[in-house]
């Protein structure tokens, strides 16, 4: 978890975000049916579909203000934009970079299984997508003795990734009866 002033600055940003979210929820709830009858059912305001979102939206606004004030009171607003710029600059640091790569790999995996990406092949692409994901993930992060894996180890990793993907696909498509994408 973030600490100190960085956390309080995040409070300011989150607080504003919550106020905006609360406003949007209240605005959407305002357009829902309130009164008369709806779908053949009496619809007084307190029983309407809008009642609960109105309550939640209102609580979002209030708690957003409270969180924002908590951050602002500790002086986190001073130099907020400079801090944001520095935070973006820190994205190049090793730990942050590794985090971004993980998210990109997960998103890439989703894209691969979502779209049939092998030209002219319209069958199951789960095995190919998973093999690519597992291999790229392992080859990106695995550093035996601090060095990149050699080509023999790389081939072994890719083969292992294929075997695992094939095994999982066979298990789910076969006995577990889950047709994978």
């Amino acid at each position: 978890m973030w600490q100190g002033r960085a956390l309080r600055r995040a409070d300011c940003v989150c607080g504003l975000g919550l106020v905006l979210l609360g406003g949007a929820v209240l605005n959407a709830a305002r357009k829902m049916p309130m009164g008369g009858s709806y779908g053949g059912v009496d619809n007084p305001w307190y029983a309407s579909p809008a009642a609960f979102p109105l309550l939640i939206g209102g609580l979002f606004v209030l708690s957003g203000f409270a969180i924002f004030l908590n951050g602002a009171r500790s002086g986190a607003l001073r130099g907020l934009f400079g801090a944001l710029a520095r935070a973006i600059g820190r994205l190049g640091q090793p730990a942050q970079r590794r985090g971004i790569i993980v998210v990109a790999l997960l998103a890439g995996y989703y894209v691969l299984i979502r779209y049939h990406w092998i030209p002219g092949y319209s069958g199951e692409n789960y095995i190919a997508s998973s093999t690519v994901f597992l291999s790229v993930f392992a080859l990106t992060f695995y550093r035996p003795q601090g060095r990149r894996p050699g080509w023999k180890l790389a081939i072994a990793i890719i083969a292992g990734a294929f075997l695992l993907s094939w095994g999982v696909a066979s298990l789910f498509s076969g006995p577990l009866r889950v047709p994978l994408p």
């Binding site: 973030w2 002033r5 929820v25 049916p33 007084p44």
Partner: protein, 509 residues
């Protein structure tokens, strides 16, 4: 009560058949592996196995044996890496690492694992007894609940979970819970059938499903965090004497009973899991100890308190799940999903619809704890080698199974995309002090809260009087008021203490 115990003893014998035993052995082994491997949790284990059991169309009894086996094994398994490598496999095992690893460095690793195994078994049995004693009483009480009480119960569940799991300030826990309740409003509303917040997206009409949310909340942040700061396992220690000292166990009987009570108590609080039970029990053991200075240096008392409490929490977490339909811990949230998939409606009517079910769950829990006791001893020497699997191999496999877990329930790639996107959001939430457990409990209890609030208002013609005039409602209101005011009191106390130490937030920066 007598009937419950009669059913329980009947189920104890009835469950014993070769197929069930094989399932139990496999499930507990899988659970211990999930608990032991850093990044894999009991919740994730249950989530993934729920997919498998649902798609296999297994009978309810076998499904529950598999899921409870994983649950018990995973909560216990966290002590292996905690003691041997100082890397807690689960959050629940973190308190055990504080005492277990120093013991391991003193050459008492085997003894520490054995003691943790025996006390985890004791804790689980304590949870079973609590289930059998308390569940019937709570069911009788819950049958008296009307809409106003059901709304207040759901509200209290989200509130208390937010209070106890927020690392920074309780308000953030409450906001997380509120976000979960908001997510629960997406889709068709429960009374009028009006579509809300669907943005004309077909996939949102049915609402946001808990399973992709749970997988996203508990798997994706773990994967990101594990890869950002990979831990290097040290040289595997040699486990010598794998047996507890009976004298130590005898001297810690009261410590174990107190820890069991704390574990059951914490477990019965909605959404608050085994990690808090372990830490609370550890902290209490330290406070009441005549030798508090020994804690942190390899105290068996500390290890016993943490391990007993986190396993006793399992039985505690099942009590509100089965009697009120309110899960007591994150793994129990997943169990609720599995029960719903099997058409088991939890809550006060469960005891009438299926009178044998709660005793059956208690019997399964007891058999799972015996299996855990045996496998715990057998697998201790093996686990030390398994723990050395590099995270670069382990985490993508976790991602692979999480993707299948999210996909398999509805064969929907939308759920997979939602799980990944929500998981990344959950990571940032946790980094900024917003716990995800209240969000999940909010998502689960949100429909119960909304439907019952609106029904209570319809019944009273828009009056709030039933919330203040019905005795049970008043009890909940007092609990809510006490919980909120206690948080303000503790926060003020913490602030004063930090000012006294001269380390307030602003000066830290």
């Amino acid at each position: 009560m007598v009937e419950t115990f009669t059913h329980f003893f009947h189920q104890l014998g009835g469950l014993l058949n070769p197929f069930n035993l094989v399932v139990l052995l496999a499930a507990v082994t899988m659970g211990i592996a999930f608990g032991a491997l850093p990044g894999l949790t009991a919740t994730l284990g249950i989530a993934l196995l729920t997919t498998a059991t649902a798609t296999l169309d297994l009978p309810l009894e076998v499904t529950m044996i598999a899921l409870m086996g994983v649950y018990v094994g995973a909560i216990y398994g966290g002590c292996h890496p905690a003691v041997l490598l100082n890397i807690p496999g689960t959050a629940a095992g973190a308190a055990s690492a504080v005492e277990g690893y120093p013991l391991c460095k003193q050459g008492r690793g085997g003894e520490a694992i054995a003691t943790a195994t025996v006390t985890s078994f004791g804790g689980t049995v304590f949870g079973v007894l609590a289930m059998l004693l308390l569940a019937p009483m709570l069911t009788v009480l819950a049958l008296k609940f009307q809409s106003s009480e059901k709304f207040l119960l759901a509200f209290f569940g989200v509130l208390i979970c937010g209070s106890l799991t927020a690392p920074d300030m309780p308000l953030k826990g409450w906001i997380a819970g509120l976000l979960g309740v908001f997510l629960a409003t997406v889709g068709i509303d429960p009374i009028h059938g009006y579509q809300r917040f669907t943005f004309d997206t077909t996939e949102l009409v049915g609402g946001i499903k808990p399973i992709p949310v749970i997988l996203g909340a508990f798997a994706v942040p773990q994967i990101i965090r594990a890869m950002m700061q990979p831990t290097k396992a040290g040289k595997p220690p040699v486990i010598s004497r794998l047996w507890p000292q009976l004298k130590i166990l005898k001297n810690n009987v009261w410590n174990a009973i107190r820890s069991g009570l704390l574990g059951v108590g914490v477990g019965s609080i909605p959404g608050v899991g085994e990690d808090i039970a372990a830490w609370l029990s550890y902290d209490t053991a330290k406070k009441v100890s005549k030798e508090p200075e020994t804690f942190g240096k390899g105290s068996m008392k500390g290890l016993i308190s943490a391990e007993t409490a986190n396993n006793a929490c399992i039985g505690g977490a099942l009590i509100p799940l089965l009697t009120l339909g309110v899960p007591g811990s994150p793994p129990a949230m997943m169990l609720l999903g599995a029960l719903e998939l099997n058409d088991v409606r939890t809550g006060p009517t469960l005891a009438m619809d299926r009178p044998e079910f709660i005793p059956q769950m208690a019997a399964i829990l007891l058999w799972a704890s015996f299996t855990m006791l045996v496998l715990g001893f057998l697998l201790s020497r093996v686990s030390v080698h398994v723990l050395r699997i590099p995270t670069a191999f382990l985490m993508p496999i976790v991602a692979l199974f999480s993707v299948i877990g999210a996909y398999a329930f509805d064969n929907s790639l939308w759920d997979v995309g939602f799980m990944i996107a929500f998981g990344v959001a959950a990571y940032f939430m946790e980094e900024t002090g917003y716990p995800v457990a209240p969000l999940v409990i909010g998502l689960i209890l949100g429909p119960m809260a909304e439907e019952n609030l609106r029904r209570a208002l319809i019944d009273s013609g828009g009056s709030l009087a039933p919330f203040f005039t019905r005795p049970l409602s008043l009890v909940f209101l007092v609990l809510i008021a006490a919980s909120v005011s206690a948080q303000f009191f503790f926060q003020r106390k913490r602030r004063l203490e930090s000012v006294e130490r001269g380390t307030s937030d602003s000066s830290e920066c």
